[in-house]
C-alpha cells in the first residue's frame, strides 16, 4: 500500500485547466450524496484549494463515514425496572452504560435475526412479569439500517413487535448475566463490554 504523507505535492487534473499542482492535506471531503467525511487526506489545487484527487489510503474512512450515515435511531418504551437491569448488566461487566446498553440490545437483536430459537426466546421473555410491566421510560438506540431491516423480517415472521423484542432482550441478558450465567455467553458480552 502506497502511503502519501500530508504536505506531499503532485499533479492532478482540474476542470477546464488541465494539469495543475496539488498538495495533499487532511480536509473534510463531501460525497455526492451529501455525506461529509471529516479530516481525510485529499489532494487540493495549490492555487484554488479545490479538492481534485483522493488517494487510495482514504477509502476506509470514506467507507466508514457512509456506513455511519446509514445508522438509524429508534426508540422503544420499556418499564423502569428493565432500565435498571440494563444498568445492572453494564455495572456487572464493568462497561460504560452510555454505549454498552445500545451495543447489548443490538447484540441480542442480531442473535434473533440469526437464530429462530433466540427470536422465539425474546418473544417469550417479552411476556414475562417484569417485561410486561407498564412501560414508563423511553430507550433510544442507534443501529445500522441493515440490522433494522433484518429485525423487521423477524418481527413479521414471528409476529412480535420491536418493543417486545427489546424488552425480551433485556430479560434475556438478565438471565444470561445474573440468573443462569453461561460461560460462553458471558465471554461474548464481556468482549462487547471491552470493545465499546
Amino acid at each position: 500500500m502506497k502511503i502519501i504523507e500530508e504536505g506531499t505535492r503532485g499533479v492532478a487534473l482540474a476542470p477546464e485547466r488541465g494539469k495543475v499542482p496539488v498538495v495533499f492535506e487532511y480536509r473534510d471531503l463531501t460525497l455526492d450524496s451529501g455525506v461529509v467525511v471529516k479530516d481525510v487526506l485529499v489532494g487540493v489545487a495549490e492555487d484554488t484549494g479545490e479538492v481534485l484527487t483522493v488517494p487510495a489510503q482514504s477509502t476506509p474512512r470514506i467507507k466508514l463515514a457512509r456506513l455511519a450515515a446509514k445508522d438509524e435511531t429508534f426508540s422503544v418504551r420499556i418499564p423502569f425496572e428493565l432500565n435498571d437491569v440494563l444498568w445492572g448488566v453494564s455495572h456487572e461487566l464493568g462497561a460504560n452504560p452510555t454505549k454498552f446498553n445500545s451495543a447489548l440490545i443490538r447484540f441480542y437483536l442480531h442473535e434473533a435475526t440469526d437464530s429462530r430459537t433466540m427470536a422465539r426466546r425474546l418473544k417469550r421473555l417479552s411476556t414475562s412479569d417484569l417485561a410486561a410491566k407498564s412501560s414508563k421510560t423511553k430507550l433510544t438506540l442507534r443501529s445500522d439500517s441493515d440490522l433494522l431491516e433484518r429485525v423487521k423480517q423477524v418481527e413479521e415472521r414471528e409476529g412480535v413487535s420491536r418493543s417486545e423484542l427489546v424488552r425480551g432482550a433485556v430479560i434475556a441478558m438478565k438471565e444470561d448475566v445474573f440468573d443462569r450465567p453461561r460461560k460462553g455467553r458471558l465471554a461474548q458480552l464481556r468482549a462487547i463490554a471491552e470493545a465499546v
Partner: protein
C-alpha cells in the same frame, strides 16, 4: 498506449496501491472502489477479464493530452465500467474516474 499496455499499467498500479480517485470538489459515489463498496482485489479481477473488444480510449475533457481508458468487461453476467487515466504514462499513478456496474 493501446489496450494491452493500458490494461497492464492499470493492473500494476492496482497491485502496487499506486492509484487515486478523481474528485470535482465532491467525490462521486459511482466510483465504487473509492467509497469501499468493492475491494482492490475485485477490481483487479474485473480488469483481468477485459478483452480488447471491451476497451476504448479518448482524450480527457480537461486535458486533451491525457488519455482516458475505459474497460467494460462482463464478469459473471454483470457488465462493469472502469474508467481511469494515468498521470505519468505509461506506468505512473492511475486515477480512477468511475468504477460501477
Amino acid at each position: 498506449m493501446g489496450f494491452s499496455s493500458a490494461k497492464r499499467a492499470l493492473l500494476t498500479a492496482l497491485e502496487a496501491g499506486n492509484f487515486q480517485h478523481e474528485a470535482r470538489e465532491v467525490l462521486s459515489e459511482k466510483n465504487l472502489l473509492a467509497v469501499g463498496d468493492i475491494s482492490v482485489g475485485e477490481v483487479i479481477g474485473i480488469v483481468r477479464r477485459a478483452r480488447g473488444s471491451d476497451y476504448s480510449a479518448s482524450p480527457h475533457h480537461w486535458d486533451p493530452g491525457t488519455e482516458v481508458h475505459v474497460f467494460r468487461p462482463t464478469v459473471e453476467g454483470t457488465r462493469w465500467y472502469v474508467k481511469a487515466y494515468f498521470l505519468e504514462e505509461p506506468e505512473g499513478t492511475a486515477v480512477f474516474i468511475s468504477i460501477h456496474r
